[in-house]
Amino acid sequence: MKHRPMFGAPTRGKTRRSSNNELKNDREARSAYELRLVAAAGFVLLLFGVLLARFFWLQGIQHDKYMTLAEANRISLVPVPPSRGIIRDRNGVILAHNFSAYTLEITPSRIGNLEATIAALNTLVEITPKDRRRFKKLQEESKDFESLPIKTRLTDEEVARFAANSYRFPGVEIKARLFRHYPYGQIASHLIGYIGRINDRDLADLEEAGTLANYRGSEHIGKIGIEASYERYLHGTTGFEEVEIDANGRAVRTLRRVSPRPGQDLQLSVDIKLQEVAERLLAGRRGALVAIEPATGGVLAFVSQPGFDPNLFVDGIDPQTWKELNESLDKPLLNRALRGEYPPGSTFKPFMAMAALEGNFPLVHQTIADPGYFVFGGHRFRDSKAGGYGSMSFDRSLTVSSDTYYYQLAVQMGIDYIANFMSGMDFGQRTGIDLPGERPGVLPSAEWKRKRFKNPAQQKWYAGETVSIGIGQGYNSYTPLQMAHATATLVNYGVAYRPHVVNQIVDPNTGELTQVEPRPERTLPWKRENIERVIRGLASVITNGTGANAFRNAGYTAGGKTGTAQVFSLKGGKYNARSVHERLRDHSWFIAFAPVEQPRIALAVIVENGGFGAAAAAPIARKVLDFYLLGKKPEDPVAQNASVVEQPSAERTGD
C-alpha cells in the first residue's frame, strides 16, 4: 500500500490527488476492492470445496458401488438400426424397398497405407476407378474412424474370397447391410427422392430436432422428395443390444436385445402406371406434369423431366456423375413440378373468368369489339390472333383464348381484386403439399411489388402492368403443381384440398393405417352457376376451341385450356418459332380435367420451349387422360413426338 499512494492512471493523477478528500475516497475504494478480493478467494475455495466433496462422495464413499458398475461395465450398448419403411404406389406396387447385401468397408484410421491396401484388395475383389472416386469423396466427408464402404453389393464368391484373406487386412471388414433400392429408377425420381449418407448438416438438424440418439447406428437419411418429407415415419426406432465385451473390447455374447421398430410403410396416392405413361410422353423434353384427383387432393402423377437415377445417390454418388447431373443445361436435378416457376400464359384465363363472374364486372355482360389489340395508356397490347375476331363475348373468350378480352377484363378488375381472388386458390403461396422445397410462385400485386423491389421508382404499381396480368404474363409465375391444384379446386366447385402424395401410413407390425387426408382445406364461396359457366367454357375449348385438334374423337368429355408462356420478349417483333433459338421458344402449357360431369382427374402439363400450348402440351394431356380414363396406352413415343411440330389451324390460333 505504501508504495502506491496514487492509484489510477499515473499520468492524470497528480493535481487531482492533492486534495485530501480524494485521497480518502481512494483509500475507501482500495479497502472495498480488497474486501472483494477476499470474497472472490472465498468463493473459489467454497466451490472447489464442493467439487472435492463430490469427488469424495464418488471416489471415497460410493467407490465400491462404482467399482462394481465398472466391473460389470463389460456391457456395451450397441445400437441396432431399424429397417426403413417401404414405399408403394396406390395399387401396392413397390417403389422403394430394402434388400440385404454384403459390403466391403474400410476404416481409414486403422490403415497405414490406404492406396496400397486398396490395390491389394483389388486383386481379390474388383474395385473400379468409379468405386475409388466415390470412396475418396466419402472419406473427405467423414471422420477417419468411421467405417466406409469401398465396394457395395458383393457377390457370394467375392465374399468368400475376401473372407479367406481377411487376416491380411486389418481395418477392412465385410458387413451385411440393408440397401435402399428404387426399382423404377428414373421414373418418379423427383417425387420419391432418395436417401444418402448422413452429413454434418443432417447431424445438426437431428440434434436440433432432438432425434440424434435415434440415429446412432443409422448411416442414411432421406435427402429429397418423399424420402425426406416422411423421414420421421420411414426411419423407425433404433433398438440396441447389450453386448458383453472382453478386455480387448470384443463382443463375447449378447445379454439383452431391445429390437428396433421398423419404419412405417407409405402408400402413395400416385398411380405408378399413369406416372410411367406421363414420363414416357415427356421423355426427351424438359417439362413437368402434375395430375390430381379433385375430390381428394391426392396426386395421381407427379412428373419432372428430365429425371435421374436415385439409386446413384444411396451410397454416395461418384463426383464425375454428380458433376454431369449438376452441370447439365437440362437441369435434371431440378424438380420442375414443385420448384419450376413459369408464367402461366393463357391457362390463367379460366381463373380470371371465374374472378370476373364472382365480382360481377360489367364486361361479363357485354360483347366488345375485338380489333386484335387493346390500347391502354398509349401502348398497344397485341392479340396473338392478328386482326382479332371482330367481336368477343365472355363465353367465347375462353374457347378461342381472346387476349383482347382479358386485357380489358384485367383493367376493369384492377390488380388488387385479382391478387385477392387468386390467393384463394394458393396462387403465389405454397399449396402445402407433403414434399420438401416447394416454391410459392409469384402472385403480383401492388403490395408484392413494394416488397420485392428496393428502388422506390420500381416499387410503384403501374396500371399498365395490370393489362398483361390478365393473360397470365407480366410478373405472374407459378409452379405446375399450383396450376394443377387450382384446376382441381375449380372443377371441384371451389372445395380445395391440400395436395398430397401419400395416402396412408402403414405400421408394418400392427397393420394399423393412418389416413393422411382427405379433409377440405377450405371451401371458396363461389356461386355454383358461375363455376358451371367457366367449366362449360373450358369444355368448349376441347369441343371446338384451341384444344379441339388434340382431343378429336376422345371418347369422353373433357375440359381444358391451352397456354403459351413467353420466355423471350419480342419487343414488338413477330414471333416465329423457327427463327428463335430453341431455348428461347415459348413454353407450352395445358391444363385439363375429365370427365366434365364429375371430374376424376385434373392436370397441368408444361413443356419447356414447346411452342404453342395446343402443339406440345395438349397432345400429352390427351394421352394421359386416355390412359387414365380408358386404359389406352399411347403408341410409340417417337411417332408422337413427330406430330408436335404441327401448327394449329388459323381459326384455332388464339394462343
Partner: protein, 370 residues
C-alpha cells in the same frame, strides 16, 4: 550478449505463473497419451499447440499496459463486428453458426471476445474510476449484453454464460453493489430451478439444451444420448477410488466407454486413473494458478490492471469448475473444455493469451516500483 538476450527474454515473464502452467501442461500431455489410447500424433499436436500458445503469451506479456488500454476499445469493436459477421456469413457446423471463414482457416470470434470483453470493461471502469456511479454499471452491463446476445444466437449457451461471467467479474471488482449481486444470484438460481424442476423451456434455450438439463436429473432417461455421457463419466470417476487404477489402466477409458474422452470428458479419464488423491492434487494445481492471478490483481498498479487480472483469474476458475462439475454430474452437460488439459487448440490459445495479459500487468507493477 547471450546474457542480455536472456534478460530480455525473461523480463516480461512471471516465473510463478509460468511454472504452474508448465506443470498443468505436463499433466495434460501424460493424460492425453492415455486418453487417446497412446496416440503419439495427438500428443505431439497438443505439444505444438502448447508451444504456439507460449510464444503468444510471451508476446502479449511484452505489451505495455498503456498500449493494452488503447487496444481495449478497438479489440471490443472488432469482436462485436466479427460476431455480427458470424450472424450473417458464418459457417455452420453441428447446428451452430460459430465460425467465420477467413480464407486460410476458420476463426471463432467468441474466443476473441473472451479476452476483449474484460479488457474493454476494465478500461471503461478505469477511465471513470474517480466519479463512479450506477450509470457506469448500466453501461457496463450493456457492454456485456451486446456480444453475449450475439453469442447466444449462434447458439452457444456455454460460451455465452462464460463470457457473461468474465464481464460480471469486472463489474464485481469495480464495486457492483452487493445487493444487486445477491438479487442477480437469486434470479439466476430461480431461473435454473424453474428450468430444471418444471422442465420449462424458455425461448433462449434450445430444445436440446433443455433436454440436457432434464437428462442430468435423470440420466437413465436417455441411455443412447446425453445421459450416456453422464452415467459413464460418473462411473469412471467413482471407480477410480482413493488412488486410481493407475496410468493407462482405466478400464472405462480403454474399453471406449467414455465419450469425448480426449476433449470435454478428459477429466473422467484423470479421475479414473489417478483417483481422489490425483483429483485433489489437480485441484490444488489449478488453485495455485488462480491464486497467482488474484495476487497479480492485488499487486497491480492501476485499476485497469486490478480489474482485468481479477476477471481473468476468476474466469479461469469458472472453466475449471464448470468442466469438473459437468463431468462429475453436478452440472448439466455444456461444451466447456478443461482448461489447458482438454485436446483442442482454440481454448488453449485464448487462455494463454489471457495469461500473457496477467504477466503484462505484473511486469508493469515492477516498473512502476522501480
Amino acid at each position: 550478449m547471450i546474457k542480455r538476450l536472456w534478460e530480455r527474454f525473461k523480463q516480461p515473464i512471471d516465473p510463478w505463473l509460468l511454472l504452474f502452467t508448465l506443470l498443468v501442461f505436463v499433466v495434460s500431455a501424460v493424460l492425453l497419451y492415455s486418453a487417446s489410447n497412446q496416440d503419439v500424433d495427438r500428443v505431439s499436436d497438443k505439444l505444438t499447440f502448447m508451444g504456439i500458445s507460449l510464444v503468444l503469451m510471451w508476446c502479449i506479456a511484452n505489451i505495455r499496459q498503456q498500449t493494452l488500454m488503447r487496444l481495449a476499445l478497438p479489440a471490443y469493436l472488432v469482436g462485436v463486428l466479427l460476431l455480427l459477421a458470424v450472424e450473417f456469413f458464418g459457417v455452420t457446423s453441428h447446428g451452430a453458426t460459430r465460425w467465420l471463414n477467413i480464407g486460410i482457416t476458420r476463426i471463432q470470434p467468441s474466443e476473441l471476445m473472451r479476452i476483449a470483453l474484460p479488457l474493454m470493461l476494465a478500461w471503461y471502469f478505469h477511465l471513470h474510476e474517480v466519479h463512479l456511479n450506477w450509470r457506469h454499471f448500466v453501461v457496463g452491463a450493456l457492454l456485456i449484453v451486446v456480444p453475449v446476445g450475439l453469442i447466444l444466437k449462434q447458439p452457444d449457451l456455454g460460451t455465452g454464460l462464460l463470457i457473461t461471467s468474465s464481464g460480471f467479474y469486472v463489474l464485481f471488482f469495480a464495486g457492483l453493489s452487493w445487493r444487486l449481486i445477491a438479487a442477480g444470484a437469486a434470479a439466476f438460481g430461480g431461473l435454473a430451478y424453474v428450468v430444471t424442476h418444471w422442465n420449462l423451456c424458455i425461448n433462449i434455450l434450445h430444445e436440446y439444451q433443455c433436454r440436457r438439463v432434464a437428462t442430468m436429473l435423470d440420466p437413465t432417461s436417455d441411455p443412447l444420448g446425453a445421459g450416456y455421457h453422464i452415467i459413464q463419466g460418473t462411473i469412471a470417476i467413482g471407480s477410480g477410488g482413493w488412488f486410481g487404477k493407475g496410468w493407462l489402466a482405466g478400464t472405462q477409458t480403454h474399453l471406449d466407454f467414455i465419450p469425448e474422452r480426449t476433449t470435454d470428458f478428459i477429466f473422467a479419464v484423470f479421475g479414473e486413473e489417478f483417483g481422489l488423491v490425483g483429483n485433489a492434487l489437480l485441484l490444488l494445481l489449478y488453485l495455485l494458478v488462480i491464486a497467482r492471478g488474484l495476487m497479480i490483481s492485488h499487486g497491480a498498479s492501476t485499476t485497469f490492471g486490478r480489474l482485468l487480472a481479477g476477471s481473468i483469474a476468476l474466469n479461469f476458475f469458472t472453466y475449471v469448475f464448470v468442466n469438473m462439475g459437468m463431468v462429475s454430474g453436478i452440472l448439466p452437460v455444456v461444451g466447456v473444455p478443461l482448461p489447458l488439459i482438454s485436446y483442442g487448440g482454440t481454448s488453449m490459445v485464448s487462455i494463454l493469451a489471457s495469461f500473457g495479459l496477467l504477466m503484462s500487468i505484473q511486469r508493469d507493477r515492477k516498473l512502476m516500483k522501480g
